[in-house]
């Protein structure tokens, strides 16, 4: 993926304006998942395991095609299946590839107390640095999508990296490469938005899905993984995709007002104690006279 530094400023031997000047150079990346063309083949699940070096996990059968109930610390990409009965009685098999959404305002990063354990790159990728992770699991509380998963073995938390290693080498993520139907797209956020809106319009105008739309939730500042849904008014149908995700209010309360109240209280308390000592000093018991009278008295 070209970096901003590689954006063309001038070219030699060219008449007129620089072609592509001012156009997004894929500086912020985005994955677009068109669930309407997903066939649930799970090639993306396998590609993810293969690229990231994890072996296939034991599957859990739950009367569905789904590999396991939710993503795991060593299984970052999972297609969620939902057999959905429409109002007119027709069945629909809804499939959604679940993985980290790479939020513009990541709740995991907000909640994390460990220095440098979670980084957000300028291209929008949110990545965990396990060597700095202390394994507290606060990221799991901060995430509205149930994505970070704790490994009891490593005592650290793991999740999808949006193949940051591939992307920084100019390659697309492994899942994108494996998709046989082309329901997975990768590019700049602007380009993906354009593509997604175009596809949603097509679904509305041509395919009869009047509620088709794009999932790019504003509650987390937008995401660097977007969906095109047949029914964007009910994202919950797609394996529990939250309708209005945001960083949990208790995490925000803890990280902002409570932190400032607490810091102010501790510092003001310390100053108050010091001031008290200067003003009133210690409680000194006059020992000598008391000792004498006591010794004369008892025992």
């Amino acid at each position: 993926m070209p970096s901003a530094a590689m954006e063309i400023r001038a070219i030699s031997g060219h008449a007129g304006s620089v072609p592509g000047a001012g156009v997004s150079r894929d500086y912020d990346v985005c994955k677009l998942i068109d669930v309407t063309t997903c066939i649930g083949c799970k090639a993306c699940e396998v590609a993810c395991l293969e690229w990231n070096g994890y072996s296939f996990s034991e599957t859990v059968f739950n009367n569905s095609y789904q590999t396991m109930p939710e993503t795991a610390w060593n299984y970052w990409n999972l297609i969620k299946f939902n057999e959905y009965e429409q109002a007119d009685g027709r069945m629909m098999l809804l499939m959604r590839k679940d993985q980290c959404m790479h939020c513009e305002e990541p709740g995991c990063l907000e909640a994390c107390p460990a220095d440098g354990a979670i980084v957000q790159y300028a291209n929008g990728i949110v990545d965990f640095q396990q060597e700095h992770c202390i394994g507290c699991g606060y990221c799991m509380s901060g995430c509205p999508f149930n994505i970070p998963k704790f490994s009891s073995e490593a005592r650290k938390v793991f999740k999808c990296t949006l193949c940051v290693d591939r992307v920084s080498a100019g390659l697309e993520p492994a899942c994108i490469k494996s998709c046989p139907t082309g329901c997975l797209h990768f590019g700049s956020k602007d380009d993906m938005k354009f593509l997604a809106e175009k596809r949603a319009k097509q679904l509305r105008d041509v395919s009869g899905f009047k509620d088709a739309g794009v999932y790019d939730p504003s509650g987390v500042g937008g995401t660097h993984v977007m969906y095109v849904l047949h029914d964007a008014s009910q994202p919950e149908l797609y394996g529990g995709l939250p309708k209005d995700p945001h960083i949990p209010w208790t995490v925000q309360l803890w990280k902002h007002p409570l932190k400032w109240i607490g810091n102010f209280g501790i510092i003001a308390g310390a100053i108050g104690i010091f001031a008290h000592y200067l003003r009133f000093g210690p409680k000194i018991v006059k020992e000598d006279e008391k000792e004498k009278s006591n010794q004369g008295g008892k025992q």
Partner: protein, 219 residues
């Protein structure tokens, strides 16, 4: 402990038994560790504390285990002191005179029993906050065992744990100040166990008269 044993040679009085001092420091030292590691997770500006104490991973792991030691000590304290920490009708007059107490006008403060109402507040504050910290801490200790359907539990604990901790920090700061700088002799009482008769008379007159009476009754 028989009432006789309160009176030591050279006019000294036993304030805290070995058993009491041991449990106090079990709670005290574990609390200081929990405070330091807890503060390192509280603010990025204090994360260096975790680094000094062996790294973030070790601090996170031991914070939970040392928390159990603190809870055990708090429970032992509850068994040992709760009967003496009960609120009495006389406490109200003491609180009404808190201004005099703060200004060191101790002659105008009602006499205190073995523990003055301020100490009772410290005790019950730590006891109830300890329960909150234990329950919320257990949830935060094992985030991977809380299913997503019960995620609200984690979210409640994430906010309650630091709130309870901040209350204990306020109590702790006052306790340390009073036990060291402000009330001379108090720190020695929880290290060596003894205080002077004058100290007893000054700070815990009701209790002192009680043990005097019971010791003379035995004679």
């Amino acid at each position: 402990m028989s009432s006789e044993s309160y009176f030591l040679p050279n006019g000294r009085v036993l304030r805290y038994s070995y058993h009491e001092r041991m449990i106090h420091w079990m709670a005290g030292l574990s609390y200081v560790y929990l405070l330091l590691t807890g503060l390192s997770f509280w603010s990025p500006w204090l994360f260096w504390i975790a680094v000094v104490l062996g790294g973030g991973t070790i601090s996170r792991e031991l914070h939970s285990w040392v928390g159990l030691i603190f809870v055990l000590a708090t429970w032992l304290m509850f068994r040992m002191w709760s009967s003496q920490m009960k609120e009495t009708p006389a406490d109200k007059a003491w609180w009404n005179a808190i201004g005099h107490y703060i200004r060191n006008e101790d002659a105008q403060v009602p006499t205190a029993d073995r523990f003055n109402p301020g100490q009772k507040l410290l005790f019950w504050g730590f006891f109830w906050c300890g329960i909150i910290l234990l329950v919320t801490g257990m949830v935060l200790w094992f985030p991977n065992y809380i299913p997503w359907q019960l995620n609200f539990l984690k979210l409640i604990c994430v906010i309650l744990h630091p709130i309870a901790a901040l209350v204990t920090i306020a109590l702790f700061m006052i306790h340390v100040y009073m036990g060291t700088a402000m009330e001379r002799g108090a720190f020695g009482s929880v290290i060596r166990g003894d205080v002077s008769r004058a100290w007893m008379e000054h700070h815990h007159r009701t209790w002192y008269e009680h043990i005097l009476k019971s010791s003379s009754a035995r004679k």
